[in-house]
């Protein structure tokens, strides 16, 4: 119950972590089944239809529901700590963001049990995703589920923007913010600009499918290519929304374990902003083969290639952070340094893809599959593992086992390269992506086998991590404030796990790497910026949960509003929009409640603080 009503950013972080793990697990199982189907030519483990549902759900789940919440988990757990704040700007919204995300994800996955999952690819290109060619409710689950989950993301992004802008501790100027806070800030700004595009796109597609509109239907005067533009105007920034936080994590982990400050901090900030900006200018590189014409192709080719420049700056800065340092290879740092070459490989194939004439050959083949997995798995997932190993003691007050951590790294890394390296060649040899099977004797067989075996090894790596996580909970809570001994930023100056109010006194920040600076000056703690006093806390509330349940019900009602059920009562309540209306009533009702009853929160008084003896 405590968990349903919490508005504490640290608990919401744990909720995000659990939710993310759940969906990451589902997406992972889907991936393994996909690879098992492709282990040999003309395999018939699953049917063509099931396979298409699997790839669609794997892509959608992984991008929107798997890695995204784990990123949000780390952001939630750390941003207030890193900037010296007691919570996020809008704790109520924070909880609302989580619950809408979770119910969106659940709605999407319900499709497996309610007559067919979406089957038009995670990009849901029209007209294939229209009712004419995708006849089950699958794509409806996609549009409505993602709409809800996207709402959660947008709320979260706005919240982080407000938090970082307004709640930094005294002395924490923008150019003193830790890199992870910076990338969170930029990421949130990208979310703010990119997500409205997909929101609009999904609304249009929902209208086409459920209400018979014609936005993407040629016969009705619509244009299916429009969907591709809308999707990628959101979709390309989205991949940077994913990768920038990983850049931030790496920029925290490497300096800590090299005992050196980040090389070229200001160029890192500048590069991040530049990447975000260019990220919005390159969407049509996903559409070279739609026939945009040579002028558009040339322009989008060049703008895409330019992204390699700020990315390159980052790679070299990381390597020179280690130069002259004392590098410790903890499991967190293994993932961080492992990130550098793997991500570089992904970036490099990205530049190759950017060359439009060459992309005519690469596009929609396994070469692209290899490319984006090198970026998303070799980049982002490595980054997340680094971050989780690094901040686990801070979040839970317990260490992860280093030996298991190293095993996790090696099995995962080796499995990863086995799976995806060969896929570059599969693409070049002529294997298209999204095929449920392939004919023998085309030179695809051995590499597909290797790829599948690699995927299984990666799966073992993930299991090891999960085991490690559970194992850590058998140990007592309360490791040192600064368990890695070389912590540089504010979060390492407070207990692990942090108390409910984070900082008893808001710290005074005197430079970049604030805590490190104090340590070098011989202090054990941060200098406070305020006297000890009573602390204002927001009250827990069930309303965000109820609101999300409401839109969840409304979403289901909307989807089935045209369906004929065998049961006349069901038909009645769905077809007359009763269910849909009921759901909206619950949501709006909670909103009204929220506005009518002012809740001023509560205070932790001075005496209580002293009693706890912190």
């Amino acid at each position: 119950m405590d968990w349903l009503t919490t508005v504490d950013h640290k608990k919401i972080a744990v909720l995000y972590l659990l939710g993310g793990t759940l969906f990451f697990g589902i997406g992972g199982i889907e991936a393994i089944i996909i690879r098992l189907q492709l282990i040999k030519p003309m395999n018939d483990l699953v049917s063509a239809q099931t396979f298409n549902e699997l790839i669609t759900m794997h892509g959608t789940t992984m991008i929107f529901l798997g890695v995204m919440p784990i990123i949000f988990a780390l952001m939630n757990a750390l941003i207030p700590l890193q900037i010296g704040a007691r919570d996020v700007a809008f704790p109520f919204l924070n909880s609302l963001g989580f619950w809408t995300f979770l119910f969106g994800g659940l709605l999407l996955n319900l499709s497996w049990f309610m007559g067919g999952a979406p089957d038009a690819g995670w990009t849901a290109y029209t007209p294939l995703s229209g009712t004419k060619f995708s006849t089950t409710h699958g794509v409806d689950f996609y549009t409505v589920g993602l709409q809800l989950a996207g709402l959660g993301t947008l709320i979260g992004g706005i919240n982080f923007l407000a938090t970082i802008i307004t709640m930094r501790a005294p002395g924490m100027s923008f150019m003193r913010m830790p890199m992870f806070t910076w990338t969170t800030f930029i990421t949130s700004a990208m979310i703010l600009f990119a997500f409205p595009a997909i929101t609009v796109g999904l609304v249009l597609l929902t209208f086409d499918r459920i209400l018979g509109a014609n936005f993407f239907d040629v016969a009705g005067g619509g244009n299916p290519i429009l969907w591709q533009h809308i999707f990628w105007i959101f979709g390309h920034p989205e991949v940077y929304v994913l990768i920038l936080p990983a850049f931030g994590i790496i920029s925290e982990v490497i300096p800590t374990f090299a005992r050196k400050r980040l090389f070229g901090y200001s160029s890192m900030v500048f590069a991040t902003i530049l990447i975000a900006f260019l990220g919005f200018m390159v969407w049509a590189h996903h559409m070279f083969t739609t026939g945009l014409g040579p002028v558009a192709n040339a322009l989008f080719s060049i703008s895409t290639m330019l992204i390699a420049v700020p990315t390159g700056i980052k790679i070299f800065n990381w390597m020179f952070t280690m130069w002259g340092g004392q590098v410790r290879f903890t499991s967190a740092n293994l993932f961080a340094v492992g990130f550098i070459p793997t991500f570089t490989m992904g970036g490099i194939t990205g530049v190759m893809l950017a060359s439009a004439p060459a992309d005519f050959q690469f596009h929609d083949t396994y070469f692209v599959v290899a490319h984006f997995h090198y970026v998303i798995v070799g980049g982002l997932v490595f980054g997340l593992f680094a971050g989780l190993h690094f901040w686990w003691p801070k979040m839970f007050g317990r260490m992860l086992n280093e030996t298991i951590g190293k095993w996790t790294f090696w099995t995962f890394a080796i499995g990863f390269h086995m799976t995806f390296f060969v896929q570059h060649f599969l693409g070049l040899l002529g294997m298209q992506r999204r095929v449920f099977t392939y004919l023998p004797n085309q030179g695809f067989d051995t590499m597909n086998l290797v790829s599948t075996l690699g995927a299984i090894l990666m799966g073992i790596g993930v299991m090891l991590f999960l085991f490690n996580a559970f194992h850590s909970f058998t140990k007592p809570k309360g490791v040192a404030n600064d368990p890695w001994e070389d912590g540089r930023t504010l979060e390492w100056s407070i207990p692990s796990p942090p108390p409910e109010y984070n900082f008893k006194q808001i710290p005074l920040v005197r430079g970049l790497d604030a805590f490190w600076k104090e340590k070098m000056a011989g202090h054990q703690e941060m200098t406070p910026a305020e006297p000890v006093g009573s602390i204002h806390m927001p009250s827990p509330t069930i309303l965000p949960f109820v609101m999300s349940v409401g839109i969840f019900i409304a979403g289901l009602g909307l989807m089935f509003s045209g369906e004929q059920f065998s049961n006349s009562f069901m038909s009645f309540i769905f077809n007359n929009w009763i269910v849909c209306g009921l759901g909206l009533l619950i949501t709006f009702g909670s909103m009204v409640l929220r506005s009518l009853f002012d809740d001023h929160g509560w205070h932790i008084e001075l005496e209580e603080l002293e009693e706890e003896g912190v």
Binding site: F133, R259, N317
Partner: protein
Amino acid sequence: MMKWWQPVKRILPMLAVFSLLLAGCGREDLSVLRPQGPVAQGQYDLMKLSISIMVVVLLVVFVIAGYVMIKFRRRPGQTEIPEQVEGNFKLEIIWTVIPLILVLVLAVPTVREVFAFANDHSDDKNAVHVKVTSHQYWWEFDYPQYDIKTAQDLIIPTNKDIAFELKTVDVIHSFWVPSLSGKMDTNPDGTLNKFSFSTAKEGVYLGKCAEFCGTSHGLMEFKVKAVSEDAFDAWVASMKAPVEPIADQALALTFKNQCLSCHAIGDQGGSAGPNLTGIGSRETVASILLNAEGSQGGDPVVDNLKEWLHDPQSVKPGNKMPAPKDLGLTDEEIDGIAEYLANSTLK
């Protein structure tokens, strides 16, 4: 101090080995790495250029990363704090400018090729014009100059530009013959995509649908058969020759009523399904059942036809052809039609 060309000297042979490796990869009639025509060759050259630049970058990163990780690991007993370096303006400028130059080196030929490949031959009198129409999950090829239509096997003469016009009747597909050219989408919005390729080498090339288009997307293949100009003219002539009808009257009627409502053979029939003229001489049945009579070897045509006709769904899940059994055909009738089609060859 190491001489500057030392690393270059080391990298060059590696690159040579690398491109040899690449060139040896895959089937000649399928692999992107073994181009068989000028268009694919141009694209391949660009790929080689980009991969060479990129492999150099990668090696630099690997070498520095490896060096740093080995040289600067923390040794036991090391307690002094390393110097906290801000950054280095000169170095940072260097690794901003060098990538910029590399990007430029790649961007110039990219732009040149983008425009080179955009030349369209749709008004070229010397080119062979082909209208490609994609369907879930088969390909139709229409030769307006010769007034013939075929499906699944695209016959082209060598040494001529083939000017394509691409469209679809349902969802988006993508027309791709890896060893002859990159892919191009078939759009449903009425815009015709145009492009062209050619080859000097006779042979059968494998083509694929590259845009996800539904259940049997992975099985939506086709063959491009490049033949000499004379052979091409002979093919055109035989496609236009009258087709021998089925000898058995009753069976001929069934065939006409049940099959020709969608398919055409010779000058009869409809166009909702693939044109069947000369199907006995094709490379495949339904684009994936390889015929022993074709260049790639497989089962006898008649067996493939029987397999298809007895259960089209099991061969290509989700395809739009009704099962002949459901149309009321008996097993004997199905086999009879299969025999007839297998013998319906081009002279």
